[in-house]
């Protein structure tokens, strides 16, 4: 199934609907009904007499049948409340310059994504990064979120967990049988893990990258001087996360970079990375 939007120049359609044989479910850590961590639940044949299998899910709401996708409005800002409570300054972004989009002519210009958000920045001396929160001994919403996510959201994982850990050869890693928010905090404080999460990306479903967590993968998208516009790039993002890309790097080197990235960010539930020097040189 695809979702159509209004004009041809804008991203017009992305792949939606659940992966075959599964459905989107949400689960909350104990005592935190405000945190809804997505999973992909796979129901099994009754003859198996097994509970549905719950898989890690980075595909965003695109695989949720209960929502309407509007690429121009962007995704729901699941982190907005946490970020708001941190009291960052609202700052005025500098005006977009022609070179930000590679001096593209009007005929080839991609329009900006209408879902533009206010921009926040930390005041000097104010704690802002997940690393600083961790160092200060503070467990953030993002940390609670990833702990629940890594455990696949169920206590059932504890059964036999120690035996499974003992069965592995981890070359000195320290994977605990069960991930607690405090463990997440301590790993970030030691610099052994990160939660890439710009305070201006409230749509992000937090993900942790570190040796003592599930191994993550990154998929690259991006246009070049030769090919690809905003519609293709947004669809590539949605397509890559559908199949399990935990983060996505936009390696665009062509024109319209600034505006294409607006569309990508507002519609991305995964961390987005880039190589800024490409845009600086385009």
């Amino acid at each position: 199934m695809t979702v159509q939007s209004k004009t041809a120049a804008r991203p017009s359609s992305v792949t939606t609907g659940p992966i075959m044989g599964s459905r989107k479910v949400y689960s909350s850590p104990e005592g935190r009904p405000d945190i809804r961590v997505p999973f992909r639940e796979i129901a099994l044949d009754p003859s198996a007499r097994e509970e549905p299998y719950r898989a890690y899910d980075c595909s965003g709401i695109y695989t949720d049948t209960g929502v309407t996708i509007d690429l121009e409005a962007g995704l729901p800002p699941v982190r907005a409340e946490w970020i708001a409570k941190r009291g960052f300054d609202r700052i005025a972004p500098r005006a977009v310059k022609p070179e930000d989009n590679g001096n593209v002519g009007a005929a080839q210009a991609v329009p900006p994504c209408p879902a533009e958000l206010p921009i926040y920045g930390a005041r000097p001396g104010q704690i802002v990064t997940q690393y600083e929160y961790a160092k200060a001994g503070i467990i953030t919403g993002e940390m609670i979120y990833v702990a629940h996510r890594e455990n696949m959201g169920r206590t059932k994982m504890i059964e036999g967990a120690e035996a499974r850990v003992a069965d592995g050869e981890s070359f000195g890693a320290a994977i605990p049988p069960f991930i607690t928010p405090e463990f997440v905090r301590s790993e970030i404080a030691r610099g052994r893990a990160i939660i890439p999460a710009n305070i201006n990306h409230p749509e992000l479903e937090p993900v942790i990258i570190g040796r003592n967590f599930l191994v993550k993968i990154n998929g690259n998208i991006g246009n070049s001087a030769v090919t690809s516009g905003a519609a293709e790039e947004v669809e590539k993002l949605v397509w890559a996360i559908r199949w399990g890309s935990d983060t996505v790097m936009d390696l665009s080197t062509g024109r319209n970079i600034h505006n294409i990235r607006g569309w990508i960010l507002r519609n991305s539930p995964v961390p987005i990375g880039t190589v800024p020097i490409y845009q600086a040189l385009e």
Binding site: G21, R164, V165, G168, F171, G191, R211, N218, L265, I277
Partner: protein, 303 residues
């Protein structure tokens, strides 16, 4: 943006070390910075002004992905002085970024033959204070353009097992062109395999549950469950249905690979059933032996 690749480790002194390489500098950002250093004959401005970059990154919590601009672009260049010199500098920059309050991960190679992969991981952990490693593959051989998702997934699975936290995918179009939609899916699934294989080997407590669930489904001929539990149910189902499309085949105790008479899973189930009957017999005979030995022979013979 949530993370930035910054190639601040490409220092002027390392550039000459790449002169005799088979494939020189293959990272886009790396070659840009090397050219800048040489043409100005100056130390990299990213390195010299790294403090200021940290301040900008911190303000919005943009994580660093410290780029490996001097990663090897061929197996011949793996683990050379340029690559490892840069890694040491990335270790130094990691400490600066942490002092500034930033989150950091470190990018890694590239093209590395299997026997030289572990050294990369060990050195990264040592030099960079255990900051997460984020590697591109590595590609374990250079001979298979068109299949570099596979050459690299081999290296990715290994380095993931040794401790790499994130694996950057490689698509079948690597070295050849911009990937299309199908290439993106192939790359992602291939890397999910590498990441999961690493999780399983490391003993991540969540990993094995899925393997066991798929294996039970396979052994019990629950075809639908086997498809649905797999990383790519669409492909699994379409491959099965290519030869056995009927709904009835979804409960069949065989597939077209070996046919009904030679299915090892079916034979193995039969053996298990036989063994179950045998075990029952032994049990009985023991019972008879214990409860008055003289009558055990006729009873067993009657079976």
């Amino acid at each position: 943006m949530d993370y930035f690749t910054i190639h601040a480790g490409v220092r002027l002194q390392y550039v000459p070390l790449t002169a005799k390489r088979t494939t020189g500098i293959v990272s886009r950002g790396g070659s840009i910075m090397a050219r800048w250093c040489l043409s100005h004959h100056k130390e990299s401005f990213l390195y010299e002004r790294f403090d200021e970059i940290c301040d900008i990154m911190r303000k919005y919590d943009v994580s660093f992905s410290l780029g490996d601009g001097l990663r090897p672009g061929s197996n011949a260049d793996a683990n050379d002085a340029a690559q490892f010199g840069e890694l040491e500098t990335l270790g130094e920059l990691t400490q600066v970024a942490w002092k500034k309050g930033c989150q950091v991960m470190i990018e890694g190679p590239g093209h590395v033959p299997m026997h030289k992969i572990k050294e990369n991981m060990d050195k990264q952990l040592r030099e960079c204070g255990e900051a997460p490693f984020y590697t591109l593959g590595p590609l374990t051989t250079d001979i298979a353009p068109g299949y570099d998702h596979i050459t690299s997934a081999i290296g990715a699975a290994m380095i993931g097992w040794y401790g790499t936290a994130m694996l950057c995918y490689v698509t079948p179009k690597e070295h050849l062109g911009l990937p299309n939609r199908d290439d993106v899916k192939t790359g992602v699934i291939t890397y999910r395999i590498a990441a999961h294989a690493a999780d399983l080997a490391k003993g991540h407590p969540a990993a094995k549950l899925r393997d066991d669930a798929v294996s039970r489904a396979r052994f019990e001929f629950r075809w639908e469950d086997q498809f649905n539990l797999s990383l790519d149910p669409d492909t699994a189902r379409s491959f099965h249905d290519e030869t056995l499309p009927k709904e009835a085949h979804k409960v069949a105790h065989f597939c077209s690979m070996c046919g009904p008479k030679f299915c090892s899973m079916k034979i193995s189930q039969d053996i298990r059933d036989d063994a179950g009957r045998m075990a029952g017999m032994e049990e009985k005979s023991k019972e008879f032996a214990e409860n008055g030995k003289q009558i055990y022979l006729p009873e067993v013979a009657a079976e």
